[in-house]
């Protein structure tokens, strides 16, 4: 009976959200780092004096027909389930045109919180779920076999929603057949993983991480008392109170609490919030902390900045922007 009630409640909750005609999460397929590295789709990037290699997605998409086969096979079944896949290629083009602007904006805050290409991609493409796709073609004498590894990653929390690994038949059949067989092989498991994730999302909200950093110019330590609305409260406790009031079911974890840093993870935020016009909009970590930033600024009269790192991670700096 209890179970039945719980289900009814869940269904009701789902229904309530359905009535609000909420925005669907967007999904994007991205070749895995390991795949890019194995196939030489990497570029050397110099940042802060060190040379690092990062995946070159546009080359991977342009030069590898197999990955396009896989992406279109996946796009096909996702479209059938009313979840069109966001095109990585189009996103990359958009980012390219934006890159000049981005370069000009660099250095404004000393480039200390630079994003990796993937983080930037995640943030600008606003994909809620990244499908990290890796596959390898093995030769078994005259036959070939595809081994695949598809991870669906929550772009907000970077947590793996569902992992699917397996192998295709070993056959002399055309490679496209083997690749499509792989996609059909993991399709339903993958969809079931997504369903599970959505169920959790509706019940408990999105999961993000918020980090608050203290700059030297900040007049107080985080473990010191500050004056809020005429009362003296510990800064860290005050912040925690805010999270208790503003998370789904008050769920979050304080991971670090020190004089210079507060870190909150598994922060469950609502999927949507209403904008000024009262329309439901999906929010990310950056949107979510805006009221908090405003509040700190207003109450304590210090400069506060917020820097998103992807959709589900945001750094708030107190004492400087």
């Amino acid at each position: 009976m209890k179970k039945a009630l719980a289900i009814a409640a869940l269904l009701l909750a789902v229904q309530a959200i359905a009535w609000s005609q909420a925005k669907k999460p967007t999904i994007m397929v991205v070749p895995a780092d390991a795949f890019c590295e194995r196939n030489g789709y990497v570029q050397q990037v110099e940042a802060m004096g060190a040379v690092t290699s990062t995946p070159d997605y546009s080359r991977a998409m342009k030069e590898n027909a197999d990955i396009r086969t896989l992406v279109s096979a996946m796009a096909d079944f996702m479209a059938k389930n009313d979840f069109p896949i966001q095109s990585l290629e189009q996103e990359l083009k958009r980012i390219q045109t934006e890159s000049a602007e981005m370069a000009m904006m660099m250095g404004k805050s000393g480039s200390e919180f630079s994003e990796t290409p993937l983080e930037r991609l995640r943030r600008t493409a606003k994909a809620d779920i990244i499908l990290d796709l890796d596959y390898e073609i093995h030769r078994v004498g005259p036959r070939r076999q595809v081994s695949f590894n598809l991870q669906a990653i929550d772009a907000y929390s970077s947590k793996i929603i569902s992992g699917n690994t397996g192998v295709s038949s070993d056959s002399n059949a055309p490679l496209t057949s083997l690749l499509e067989e792989s996609v059909l092989s993991f399709k339903d498991n993958f969809l079931s993983g997504l369903q599970h994730y959505f169920d959790d999302l509706f019940a408990n909200g999105r999961e993000i991480t918020v980090t608050i950093l203290r700059y030297d110019s900040c007049p107080f330590d985080f473990d010191e008392e500050v004056e809020v609305d005429g009362d003296d409260v510990d800064f860290d406790e005050w912040i925690e109170e805010w999270f208790q009031d503003n998370t789904v079911n008050g769920r979050f974890t304080t991971a670090t609490s020190s004089a210079n840093m507060l870190r909150f993870n598994q922060v469950r935020i609502p999927l949507y919030s209403q904008n000024r016009k009262g329309v439901d909009v999906a929010i990310d970590a950056d949107d979510y902390v805006k009221p908090l930033v405003k509040l700190i600024k207003k109450q304590l009269n210090v400069p506060v900045g917020a820097t998103p790192r992807g959709l589900g991670d945001v750094w708030i700096t107190v004492g400087d922007k």
Binding site: K3, A4, I7, V14, I17, A18, A22, K23, K24, P25, K80, N81, D82, F83, N164, G166, V167, S168, S169, D170, E181, L184, S185, F186, D188, N189, L191, S192, L194, Q195, F198, F202
Partner: protein, 166 residues
């Protein structure tokens, strides 16, 4: 008149007994083997499934029911080159809470037959046809129209759509 009444009572009792039997078997319906043969063509599951019946034909029908049952409630185990398939209704309470729906769905000649097609060449043969106590046990190759079945159950409100809630 009395005879008629008695006859009707007897037949009613026997019908209700049959229903009871069926309901009983419905809830303990889990005793069958199913394996993924290969990755099926788009939208289908290609499996080998076993059924039991007093005759070979009855066993074949039972195997078809089992194949659809597995897709809805139990899922299909994978094989070396095919991943496992999750059930369309993973919630264990679905069968009980929608019993009437599934009684109709799995009735003899019921709608379930539209989602399963046997690909065994002719009748089950060789070791796939076994005489067992009380009848026959047969193994058949079938294609289950998994995607169509899923859509049907979503449409009928039994299974939830992936996009429901958005």
């Amino acid at each position: 008149m009395i005879a008629l009444t008695v006859l009707m009572t007897v037949s009613a009792v026997s019908v209700s007994a049959q229903n009871k039997d069926r309901r009983k078997s419905f809830q303990s319906w889990d005793n069958y083997e199913i394996t993924t043969e290969k990755v099926g063509v788009d939208g289908t599951k290609f499996v080998k499934v076993w059924g039991f019946g007093k005759t070979v034909d009855a066993a074949v029908m039972n195997a078809k029911e089992n194949a659809v049952h597995a897709c809805i409630f139990r899922g299909i185990p994978g094989s070396a080159t095919a991943m496992s398939t999750p059930p369309i209704c993973p919630n264990p309470d679905t069968l009980v809470s929608n019993e009437d729906y599934f009684q109709t769905f799995f009735a003899p000649g019921g709608p379930y037959l539209a989602y399963v097609s046997m690909t065994t060449d002719g009748v089950p043969s060789g070791t796939d046809k076994r005489k067992v106590k009380g009848g026959y046990k047969v193994g058949i190759y079938v294609q289950v129209m998994y995607d169509n079945l899923k859509r049907k159950l979503e449409h009928d409100g039994i299974a939830r759509k992936l996009s429901s809630g958005f």
